[in-house]
Amino acid sequence: MKTFAELGFPGRLIAVEGLDGSGKSTQIYLLKRWLELQDFKVYFSEWNSSEIVKAATSKGKKRELLTPTTFSLIHATDFADRYERHLVPLLRAGYLVLCDRYIFTAFARDVVRGCPPEWVRGIYDFAALPDLTFFFRADLEVSLQRILDGRPQLKYFEAGMDLRLSTDMYESFRIFQGRMLEQYLAMSTEFNFLVVDANQLVEAQQVMVRELVSQRIDLARFRHAERLPGRPPRDIQKQKKERAREVEEATFE
């Protein structure tokens, strides 16, 4: 497997991975804002967000129709749709593409759910590797607390309830997320994860993220050709709304 840079794409893909509640969505949002404010060509894509596939996934989750195999396949379908219709064309056009979760989420999650690792990896082998992958490593208790602060209840699949690990949702979440962490750590070296200590304050993490991005990617190449004259200033209200929506979606994933 090769990265987009190795494959000769002019664009670069940056992915963030981590457990639910590790704070990765906040970090990638702040990275996106930083890049946008410098007028770079940026595109953001989120796991499980394809317009076409989403309806089926949420029906499957709501009605608990999903098995480990269909859970895996429907997420692969979602990824393929975004990959072929958005990510690849934008990377061909020289964009900085930011992904909140990438194939490693599937590698970890589906394997914890009992799918054979070679089968899962085989399915995703049409996808190139990110040029940079940040892994936000938070203590289990920290991520659990972050999830619970945001809302009163855990979600069925997020807590791994389908695996019948425990009848207690919190206990199930702990075991499930613990196993996810093991899978992530096992992949860390193989896929050159840049591990960020996610127990730190938001700002401290962002400093590290921005530093690494500017060191490893020649950002100057990604600036918009030129500003269009008379381009209206960005609507602050709209930005706030967008931010609120993104945070909500990230939490309810």
Partner: protein, 244 residues
């Protein structure tokens, strides 16, 4: 097409060893799978549904319980898949995985439970059509084999072979039109739908012949009358039931 049911002679199916093509489905105990899985493959107009209807009738007459499955019939994604196809907006990997999801849902929720309950499952197409369609669209055979390693190996697979020249006549006789996807119009073989249909169906037939070398299904001459074809299928199925 009435046939006298055989008097009180019911064959209790022989239990054969089962396997998945690849990794299979996690946590499925194949020891418990008692029924038989019979697959009928072929293009639209090859006589698949006629044959399946005749098989249901004769198998039920012989005391076997049957269940039917087919492509794009899952609870999970069939509607969404249909909607996406109408607009023809899906790229090929996405379409392929969408169909695989549909297949997996039916495999786990209909096929395997029915087989466990001792039913004869009649599948109106199976992974071979899905693989052939994708291969004609340039997808990697190895990738597809891994993907469909989840599939259970059937007890019998029949491919009803009818040349494109005859398929076109049968499709017109039935609908007065050719189907967009069955003509492979998404590939852009030709702007002319008739030409595209012929080229696409020829490519599908070739791919089926190629897959036959791996999966060893029975190629059945679909140019004969429905009854003659059915007698051939039934004979083969009786062998399967008797464990021969």
């Amino acid at each position: 097409m009435k046939r006298a049911p055989r008097k009180n002679h019911i064959v209790v199916p022989f239990r054969s060893e089962r396997r998945f093509y690849g990794h299979g489905i996690p946590r499925v105990d194949l020891e418990k799978v008692a029924g038989k899985l019979i697959v009928v493959e072929g293009a639209d107009g090859s006589g698949r549904s006629t044959q399946i209807a005749l098989l249901v009738q004769s198998l039920e007459g012989s005391g076997h319980a049957t269940v039917q499955v087919g492509l794009k019939r899952s609870t999970l994604v069939s509607e969404e898949l249909d909607r996406a196809q109408q607009g023809n907006i899906l790229s090929r990997t996405t379409l392929s995985l969408f169909y695989a999801t549909d297949f997996a849902d039916q495999l786990e929720n209909i096929i395997l439970p029915a087989l466990k309950a001792g039913f004869i499952v009649l599948a109106d197409r199976y992974i071979y059509t899905l693989m052939a369609r994708d291969m004609v669209r340039g997808m990697d055979e190895g990738w597809l084999k891994n993907l469909y390693g989840i599939a259970l190996e059937p007890d019998a697979v029949f491919y009803l072979n009818v040349p494109p020249e005859e398929l076109v006549q049968r499709n017109f006789a039935k609908n007065m039109s050719l189907d967009y996807w069955e003509s492979g119009m998404d590939i852009g073989l030709s702007r002319d739908m008739f030409d595209s249909f012929m080229q696409y169906q020829r490519a599908m037939e070739q791919t089926f012949r190629h897959l036959q070398t791996t999966y060893g299904f029975t190629i059945v001459d679909g140019m004969r009358s429905a009854d003659v074809v059915n007698a051939e299928l039934r004979k083969k199925i009786d062998h399967v039931l008797a464990g021969k």
